[in-house]
């Protein structure tokens, strides 16, 4: 069950028209592609994605890009919109989202349920976590990643004993419990849970029948500690890259950094691993090309990612990520920027440290990212000086 209803409010305006899992990432992907690819490579092919908020874009992506499994073999990836079958409100919390889809669990009757978030970027073999869960005879296993202690306020922090049994859980604490033998580190919950189905249903019903925020982190897990067999799986045991790469990309700054990491010579997140490829949907486009090499008019792209359909036509691109079908016209300069699908940058325009959302036309001579006070009048500008040009804007 992939929770794909995240609003991603701090990613605004990228989430103005789409849920967080549908936000483009790494030139050609959507954030949810990482979780879905992990499922596929882990042999998990009966997948429900629970959507709610602004789900049109996500539904379309799942339909177009992920209609690749074999229904006759019982495989599927199905987006289930919030049906308001139990309650006419949106899901109240992560646990409520599963509770309201109890009918779906009923029909499938699996032995185990893997609950994932569609909001995170990482590569993980869930089979290792499931094997750990079975080996420990756990009722619930929660995946955790080591983070520096000073980041505790951003995470659900898990306390374990020597056997990795969970003995405490704090939601975004100021004073966190650190890892035994590692006073500078905490175990952060990754929002990945393996549950025995029957126990999951019992605890969801208990939670539904009480005053609660109906959230796994805040309500269900604290209720289960000390009562059920709750174990913690160390992400490093299932991490494929061996680099411990896992990102929440919850803010524009984090989103920008995580994208920019990909233009390093050997990024922590390896997209070139043919054993664990990340799948996505891409409409057919011709290969990227650069044109013009005469006098001062030279089309170049350096330390950059270019996708299919891009044309660098006499402009210069440095340290940037271009999604499919981006056009950069003559004498335009793009630096340290992320240009999403279909963006067109006119002649002599200069763009720096800017994220431009899909299909935006930048008129000739426009400057963005050079005068942040001016930019802030029309665009979102973050504290660290990243400008975001939203979808649908006319300049």
């Amino acid at each position: 069950m992939v929770l794909a209803g995240g609003r991603g409010e701090r990613l605004y305006p990228l989430t103005r028209d789409r849920a967080k899992p549908a936000v483009p990432f790494g030139a050609i992907y959507r954030i949810i592609d990482f979780t879905l690819s992990n499922c596929l490579h882990s042999g998990l092919r009966r997948i429900y994605a629970l959507t709610q908020y602004k789900s049109t874009s996500l539904n379309r992506h799942i339909q177009l890009g992920w209609n690749i499994l074999s229904a006759p073999l019982g495989e599927f990836i199905e987006a289930i919109p919030a049906q308001q079958r139990i309650d006419e409100h949106w899901y109240q919390g992560t646990a409520d989202a599963i509770f309201q889809n109890i009918y779906t669990l009923q029909e499938e009757r699996p032995d185990l349920v893997l609950i994932l978030s569609g909001d995170h970027i990482y590569k993980m073999d869930y089979r290792k976590m499931i094997a750990f869960h079975l080996e420990r005879r756990a009722d619930l296993t929660v995946a955790a990643i080591r983070m520096d202690r000073n980041l505790s306020k951003e995470f659900g922090v898990i306390e374990v004993d020597r056997d990795w049994r969970m003995i405490g859980f704090q939601e975004k604490p100021e004073e966190p419990q650190t890892i035994p033998g590692d006073p500078g580190g905490i175990l952060a919950s990754m929002g990945i849970y393996v549950f025995n189905t029957e126990l999951l249903v019992r605890r969801l019903i208990e939670d539904a029948r009480s005053e609660s925020s109906h959230d796994f982190g805040k309500d269900i897990i604290p209720m289960m500690i000390g009562k059920d067999q709750v174990f913690v799986f160390d992400f490093r045991q299932g991490d494929l890259g061996g680099t411990g790469y896992w990102r929440d990309v919850g803010t524009i700054d984090a989103y920008y950094e995580a994208n920019m990491d990909l233009i390093a010579v050997t990024p922590q997140l390896n997209l070139y691993d043919s054993q664990w490829s990340i799948l996505t949907y891409q409409p057919a486009s011709p290969p990227a090309k650069t044109v013009w090499i005469e006098g001062g008019r030279v089309g170049t792209a350096l330390n950059s990612i270019l996708s299919n359909g891009c044309i660098i036509s006499g402009g210069n691109v440095k340290r940037s990520i271009l999604s499919p079908r981006v056009t950069v016209h003559s004498f335009a300069e793009i630096e340290d920027s992320i240009l999403l699908e279909g963006v067109d940058v006119g002649r002599n325009a200069r763009i720096k440290k800017t994220i431009i959302d899909k299909e935006v036309q930048i008129p000739p001579g426009t400057e963005i990212g050079y005068h942040l006070d001016e930019d802030a009048k029309r665009f979102t500008v973050t504290d660290s000086g990243i400008v975001v040009v939203p979808k649908g804007i006319r300049l």
């Binding site: 079958r85 009918y103 249903v201 019992r202 029948r209």
Partner: protein, 122 residues
Amino acid sequence: MKKKILVVEDEESLRLLYEEELMAEGYEVLTAGNGREAIQQLETGKPDLILLDIVMPVMDGMEALGRIVGKERKIPIILNTSYSGYRENFMSWAADAYVTKSDDLSELKKKIRELLGKGKAR
């Protein structure tokens, strides 16, 4: 003040039987003929306990159970059925008690007393 019980049952003769018997026990009784009516009664009648049949037209007891729990989290619910397979249904686990339909209502009355006595009602 009299405690109020909502009887949800599609078969009219049974509904009347429960109504009479429970009124004789000193309860105020509301009735509904299916799950949808039950949800309307939940809002307008503010019952203290719900006796819920499972197999009903329009909206069955399992669906009504989910919706009732979504609205009134703590109201005690007794599933009342002649059909024994209901425990296979996950949503049935949200009920507080299960009673098999019978001419003898003493078990049902006992369960009602227990649940209302717990002070769990509103």
